[in-house]
């Protein structure tokens, strides 16, 4: 769906994107992660033909970008760096203007499509208020509605849940899940790891303009071969599992053993109480922190101790 080869963007002396090889498959829910200022947005803009690459190639839906970008853009819904709108117009008027811009879209009449898109994002009952009076969450929903207007095959979303409350985030996650199940490929950039963990099937992590990791989430979150046990009888448990307890924090033990059932049986047979037991998984956060450095929004003192 999206393939890039050695994609590079240089702004003067600054190397914003450095030889990135993206590979997003059709039907993926791809999470594009990275610290602030790592080049995520520049990549997204290059995919949409807004920013021209210094070198490297981009292919979206099999067409070269930016050469043939106008052929693929009608099938892409995009939300880039937050929603934008004409503040003095209503939500519907904004969508109508945006839809009327560009090539004529075939299919169902505009009014119907606008209503459907608004329904999907939970703004179906919106009145004629000017958009400048909308809350941040409403604007975000309106931005999503704009991306959904033309039933795209590919959704390119930059921080889609920005400004939404937990309820709203959940709704949008469910919506994206539904759309994906119906065949829409989703490429979303985010720095909210929990969101990506809950929604995505595949992740790419950028750091300082370089793609440092690209993997299926299931692989990434593989079992570590250790078991986490919580027990009020931690001292006795530690003695029982002598040599295999890797780490102990209060009543939490980290045991070198792939099978939780095995550990559980041993503890219970020895008459020890177990409050919680589960296999340890690698967390996305650990992975992310391991491969990235702090974002460009952190500016340390030169003479810091």
């Amino acid at each position: 769906m999206i393939v890039t080869h050695a994609l590079t963007k240089r702004y003067g002396k600054v190397l914003a994107v450095d030889r990135v090889d993206l590979d997003v498959h059709e039907g993926d829910r791809y999470g594009f992660l990275g610290p602030n200022g790592s080049g995520k947005t520049t990549v997204v803009r290059m995919l949409l033909g807004l920013v021209y690459a210094t070198s490297g190639e981009i292919e979206v839906m099999g067409k070269p970008v930016p050469a043939k970008v106008s052929d693929v853009l009608p099938q892409i819904g995009a939300l880039v760096e937050g929603p934008s709108n004409y503040g003095h117009l209503s939500g519907r008027a904004n969508l109508a203007l945006l839809d009327a811009a560009g090539r004529k879209s075939s299919g169902r009449p505009r009014r119907r499509r606008i209503s459907e898109a608004l329904d999907r994002v939970g703004l179906g009952g919106i009145d004629n208020r000017a958009v400048k009076k909308y809350s941040l969450g409403m604007r975000q929903r309106l931005g999503l509605a704009a991306a959904l207007l033309r039933s795209p095959r590919l959704l390119v979303l930059d921080e889609p849940t920005n400004g939404l409350d937990p309820q709203g985030i959940r709704e949008i996650r469910d919506l994206l899940g539904e759309l994906n199940a119906a065949g829409t490929t989703i490429f979303m950039s985010s720095h909210q790891l929990s969101e990506v963990e809950l929604l995505c099937t595949r992740v790419g992590i950028v750091d300082h303009g370089r793609l440092v990791l690209q993997q299926d989430l299931s692989e990434l979150r593989a079992l570590t071969g250790r078991v986490i046990v919580h027990t009020p009888d931690a001292d006795r448990a530690a003695a029982l599992l002598d040599g295999r307890v890797e780490q102990r924090e209060g009543d939490r033990l980290l045991v070198t053993e792939a099978d939780p059932a095995e550990v559980n049986t041993r503890l219970v047979e020895a008459g020890l109480r177990v409050t919680e037991i589960r296999p340890e998984r690698r967390s996305l956060e650990e992975q992310m922190l391991a491969v990235t450095s702090s974002g460009s929004d952190r500016v340390d003192r030169e003479d810091a101790p």
Partner: protein
């Protein structure tokens, strides 16, 4: 896309407020003149104004002379400065281009909207002025000057002062000459628009683009009056702005009018070309 741009422009309160203000100023001037019957002495104050007391049909041209120096260029510069920079500033530019709207098409649509605005503004000023002129002033036959080669300042004096020696203008004559004036002024304003439109593709701030264009006009205005800058004088954008007064002579003096059209055409072509070249290859980071 053109339809969308025109619709967007028509829905902005600013468009109508600026046109209302443009029409309001000459109306205000007309009311003062009609009530007091005091006009600036020939050769001073707005061009042709001294002539309107005797004939209201000349008021459209006089009204255009009133808004031409500052009001009209400011309005056009603000509209043109907003074209691309305004979309960039509001963040809509990226969504329009991702819709997709081709960059060249977007620029062309913006240009059409700008031309429509400029022409409507000039025509509406003239129409309002015609109505106020007919209501507030008489319609005695007017005479045009037969003199030539005078600076624009003294032409106004001439129109009024030599009314006895000049040929009388029929209403149809005045209509044609006023229409020609409207075209000339609209083209001059398009030159202003081209400057602001070009700057609008350079910056993401509509204000900077509009002020930049006005700064260019003020510079030009200063240099026009400066003898030391005589070598660049014929190429300055504001040099022939007042040449339309020559439409009200008999016979019409085409020299400055032709040059005025030519200078504006060069500015428009060069700056629009530069705007297109810049916009089509620009990274959209707004």
């Amino acid at each position: 896309m053109i339809r969308v741009e025109l619709l967007k422009m028509a829905r902005r309160p600013r468009t109508w407020v600026s046109i209302a203000l443009l029409c309001g100023l000459p109306t205000l001037v007309a009311i003062f003149v009609a009530v007091t019957h005091i006009v600036p002495p020939p050769g001073e104050g707005p061009t042709l104004l001294s002539a309107v007391l005797s004939n209201g049909s000349l008021y459209p041209a006089a009204a255009l002379a009133i808004v031409l120096p500052i009001f009209l260029p400011v309005a056009v510069a603000v509209m043109a400065g907003d074209t691309i920079a305004g979309e960039a500033g509001s963040g809509m530019l990226r969504y329009l281009l991702a819709r997709p709207v081709g960059r060249t098409r977007l620029l062309a649509a913006k240009l059409v909207a700008l031309i429509t605005y400029t022409l409507s503004a000039v025509v509406l000023v003239a129409v309002t002025a015609y109505i106020t002129g007919r209501i507030l002033f008489g319609t005695q036959p007017v005479a045009v000057t037969t003199g030539g080669g005078l600076s624009s300042g003294t032409i106004a004096a001439h129109v009024a002062a030599t009314s006895l020696s000049g040929t009388a203008m029929t209403p149809a004559d005045i209509l044609i000459r006023t229409a020609a004036t409207i075209v000339f002024i609209a083209v001059s304003m398009l030159g202003v628009g081209a400057i602001a439109l070009f700057l609008s593709t350079l910056t993401d701030s509509p204000l900077a683009a509009a002020l930049g264009a006005l700064a260019a006009l003020i510079t030009s205005g200063v240099l026009v009056t400066l003898n030391a800058a005589g070598s660049v004088n014929p190429y300055l954008p504001t040099r022939y702005w007042l040449a339309w007064v020559d439409f009200f002579r008999e016979p019409i003096l085409w020299r400055d009018i032709d040059r005025g059209f030519a200078v504006q055409a060069v500015y428009v072509v060069v700056l629009l070309g530069a705007a297109w070249a810049n916009f089509a290859t620009k990274d959209i980071t707004s």
